[in-house]
């Protein structure tokens, strides 16, 4: 959906608040249930939603802001996330018409593929930067499990984001 800049600001601010709430819950509530090394990458799921739903010249700015806000909760370098995010969002946008998130199984599949692609791109980037081979394979299983959980809830997350972005409007892409 093509959205002018002035129509982006309000829903984007709400999306940011939504992200902050999810990050706070996942970083301070879930770990004390014993899951200290298991996180759902909400920032990546939100970035996927923005890439697939919005046609705007400012995707790179949105990616940067999402990754920067995510860095309040992690020591993860926002810059790597922004770099990979911009490139992956470009690819997702190119295949926007082919990617279907209209049904639950399709959404799960597409989000899982997207998250694995992100993991591979991120590992490759770190490998070229520091030569850490263990990073490439060491976390694959954990990331895969996190990705499954993220993709399982992504359909419902997208429904909520649809309400934020397209409240009272007709959805254009046969939305969820």
């Amino acid at each position: 959906m093509k959205i002018p800049l002035n129509k982006i600001i309000r829903p984007f601010l709400i999306t940011l608040i939504f992200l902050i709430i999810l990050e706070i819950i996942s970083s301070s509530f879930v770990p004390f249930l014993g899951l200290t090394h298991f996180y759902i990458p909400f920032n990546l799921v939100i970035l996927f939603y923005l890439a697939i739903r919005l046609e705007t010249s400012f995707t790179a700015v949105l990616v940067f802001i999402i990754q920067y806000f995510h860095s309040f909760f992690t020591i993860e370098n926002w810059a790597i996330g922004t770099f990979i995010g911009i490139l992956i969002c470009k690819v997702v946008a190119k295949f926007r018409d082919l990617i279907q998130i209209s049904s639950y199984p399709l959404t799960v599949l597409v989000v899982q593929i997207y998250l694995i692609s992100w993991y591979l791109a991120n590992s490759l980037f770190i490998y070229f930067q520091s030569g850490g081979k263990t990073i490439f394979f060491g976390r694959f299983f954990t990331t895969f499990l996190e990705g499954i959980l993220a993709s399982l809830i992504s359909y419902h997350l997208f429904s909520l984001l649809d309400k934020i972005w397209f409240a009272g409007k007709e959805k254009e892409l046969g939305g969820v």
């Binding site: 706070i24 010249s57 940067f64 995510h70 020591i75 954990t142 990331t143």
Partner: protein
Amino acid sequence: MVDLEIVEKNRLKLAIDILFLSISLYGVSNWSPKNEIISPFKSVMINITASLQSGLNTVRSNIHQGFDNYLLNVNSSKENFHLKKKISLLENDLFEKEEIGKENDRLRTLMNYEKDSLESKIIAKVVSWNSSSEFRVLRINKGAKHGITIQSPVVTSNGLVGYIYRLTNNFSDVLTIEDSNNHVDGQLERTRGQGVLEGTADGKIIFKYIPKSEPVIVHDLVITSGLGNTYPKGIRVGTVSKIEKDSYGVTQLIEIKPSVSFDKLEEVIVLKMPEDKKKELEELSKANQGEEAI
């Protein structure tokens, strides 16, 4: 006319993409795995979000206590409702006191943590964990305002936790020894053999550069060696849990089980170095760097 508009938009899109890709590459080149100096805006935002995390943590703790109280009281007889209420109140009080007692015991143990070094200690509560499984970082409720500085060592009565990676006025992020960016200079207590402890991507801690000739055995205690200017000497890190000796190479692969149970961490101690000792270490570090340069 329409075509011209599309071309203009595409140019704008390309320009924004290139600008932000360049900014992010610049950010990558400036990133340090050792520590992070944060901007005032980020500091304010971390303080706000960490306060919310701390609040949620308190709510969780209260719910947990409330649930325990409910379980304690659920079997009481209905016939003695008033009596039960009274008992329940007393039990609630007792439970709270027990919890306070347990907390006091834990804090007392922490306070009794004896080291022959001159560091003063700051006790802090764990507020949250890093929001990405790639890193092993925890957030504590004490910051620069309480006298904590970047790279201050963090311990518990059981052993080493890590060091302060990122700092705001009221909160700090601790890079634990399980993280692959954290390198600890360690030493085998029994044989005095020295090496480097490093976290791996799959959450293990390995002890590197120990020669094959070193007679390491399982359950050997590993302590900090004091080299590297980050951790004081003699802090317990963990015990040897696995040894692998390949037929090739000069070193052996040693896996360490940390002394600290990271999944159950609630309070930690930040060791605050005295100014004169800190300056001494900085000067020593500069001198070493100078020698290396020569």
